[in-house]
Amino acid sequence: MQQTGSQILFRALKEENVDTLFGYPGGCVMDIYDELFRQDIRHILVRHEQGAIHAADGYARVSGRVGVCLVTSGPGATNTVTGIANAYMDSIPVVVLTGQVPTAMIGNDGFQEVDITGITRTCTKHNFLVRQIGDLHRTIREAFQIARSGRPGPVLVDLPKDVIQSVMETDLLTTTLPPGEEPPCPDLEGLCSEALKLLLAAKQPLIIVGGGVILGKASEICRSFARKFQIPVVSTLMGLGAFPASDPLWSGMLGMHGAYSANMAVSHCDLLIAVGVRFDDRATSKVSAFAPHAKIIHIDIDPVSIDKIIRTDISIISHCTPAIETLHRLVNEQRLTLPEQPIRAWRNRIHQWKAEMPLSYCRNQNIKPQYVIEKLHQLTGGRAIVATEVGQNQMWAAQFYRFDEPNAFLTSGGLGAMGFGLPAAIGAQVACPDRLVVDVAGDGSLQMNIQEFGTIVHYGLPVKVVILNNQYLGMIRQWQELFYGRRYSQSDMTQAPDFVKLAEAYGIKGLRATKPAEVKRVLKEGLETPGPVVMDFHVEPEENVFPMVKPGTPLTEMAFGNSRARAVA
């Protein structure tokens, strides 16, 4: 049978079990949208292409599937670049379909033409320009395979209008894909044996889990490994939820705004087992002072991450599941046990650090943002899917919403893109219609993609938006207070809309709290009201995120705010 490029596209998407597209129409994708009209795939119409890519990203983070977005050429495509770079930094599998001018016009500065494959070359895992209809089916299938295999990432496919419009015979259309890129680690057994030798000799072992554990769906297996040996666990920002915060072995998030116990644990451990982490500077701070007493075992699927920043003693280039499984199996086969006494003493030491300096804040007559998150955690049973924006709101959500499950914390970690939270929450809600999805936002960040309120209403998505409204670009202001002599240059956001009225203008219920006594009531009402709700919390304007490690200083040198600022040896 003769099929058009559009039909072949949808055929390939169906073969990939795609059930949702996030997109926005335009000139170069008119034919695709016309074909969409006849197809039964769900399409979420956003209000800005950046919303589409962040929504596809949120969808992927929550579901573990490949998120898909469809935008037109030129400005439609360039509007997705931030979201693509975001997915690239956090290794999220998304396929971005962009329209393009007809092949004969490429390179002639046509209307709504950009060299999107050139622009995204260094922030996609790979990209394609489909030059002829015969390549279309295979390219789409390959794009999905690349997006999801090995270390996942965004893949862009540029679709010229004439290719989409042309027609070919498809009765014999098949695609054989080359094998996926996950060759098993050669000598996994040998490396794991070596790793176990180090583990048996350790008296202060520590496991650090990162985003890779969640992407690799290895949360369960990491938990049982940690619990078998009773090894304490810390997490990076991207790894939150991989190991339950309610578990006694949980020792906190490490890094620039990490917990005292976590930073101390990393700095004093004698063996660090790093699973699915890439040793980003927010987590390690001063590299030469990171885990100074520890031998390091690094398990990661991407060879580029190994020995990139931190020298490792044993590196295991592998998907984390087979690596941890092998470790576990060897332990069982050889009936290995760890020296119990020193490790119990080590765990006690970490408990003491936790008790000495828990994450805390001072209460006063204003609403404290940390309090809002604590109450949110309590009222949702700690089981909501929480998307965040970037900055102080992000850090407080990470610190005070204690996650027990993976795929529940959606945050722009590597890129730190403000405006991520609201569309990501949309994507998450679309993927999980029966779960409670909350967007924790700052007043600044929320305004970057606030137009997506329209998307929420259009599809009746019951997303709950919690605004930690301090009328500042909070994290900027904090740095200006601490490092720039309180010169608040361009960080004042007092000129802001009335978020309640704005929500109502979109047809979304709006609630506000201005005193601590109102917080619980507003949260309760907002969470229990069916449908989307925007809750505007007027919080302490100059509250700071602590602990804080100044960039370039060791993790042990944490500042704690007014009364407790100190350097720790």
Binding site: T117, R121, T122, K125, H126, D302, P303, V304, D307
Partner: protein, 164 residues
């Protein structure tokens, strides 16, 4: 010494696709690595291209570059070409004016350097020289003294030695 800057060569075998060179160059520029010379051509399989790149860098950095390259979808293999284990050569085409006094000097240069005359016009010739970097540098210096008008130089190509 891991931190010593030296010119180091890499061999990159890639799928012959229109944007592959751009990707490789992008990997270098995005990470702040500089390409000193580059030479690319198809292998006996027209779908596969071999690229030789030299870059001035440290041992640690070249290891990172190679990992980055191997991660690219269209890169089939990227590896180091260490100097003692490989032969590295370049080629130069130079156009030199033909005047009476120079002819003898040119002939001598061509004879001693193993050069070839590949084109003759009425008042100029184009000469071809191959050699390693130092040899070509010297040849070019001598050619300049002989009034060389223009020249074109390939990137380094390299090949690993066989077993001794």
């Amino acid at each position: 010494m891991p931190t010593q800057l030296k010119e180091r060569a890499i061999s990159v075998i890639v799928n012959n696709r229109p944007d592959v060179l751009a990707r490789i160059a992008g990997t270098f520029s995005a990470r702040g690595f500089n390409i000193e010379s580059i030479s690319a051509n198809i292998t006996r399989n027209p779908a596969v291209t071999k690229i030789i790149i030299t870059t001035l860098t440290t041992q640690d950095t070249i290891a990172k570059v190679i990992k980055q390259l191997n991660r690219l979808v269209d890169v089939l293999e990227a590896r180091r070409l260490r100097r003692p284990d490989s032969v590295q050569r370049e080629m130069v085409l130079a156009r030199v004016p033909l005047t009476g006094e120079r002819q003898a000097a040119l002939r001598e240069l061509v004879d001693t350097r193993g050069g070839k005359v590949v084109n003759e016009e009425s008042d100029s010739v184009i000469l071809e020289f191959t050699g390693d970097k130092d040899e070509l540098e010297e040849t070019l210096t001598r050619l300049e003294l002989l009034g060389m008008e223009d020249f074109s130089r390939t990137g380094v190509i390299a090949l690993e030695r066989g077993k001794p």
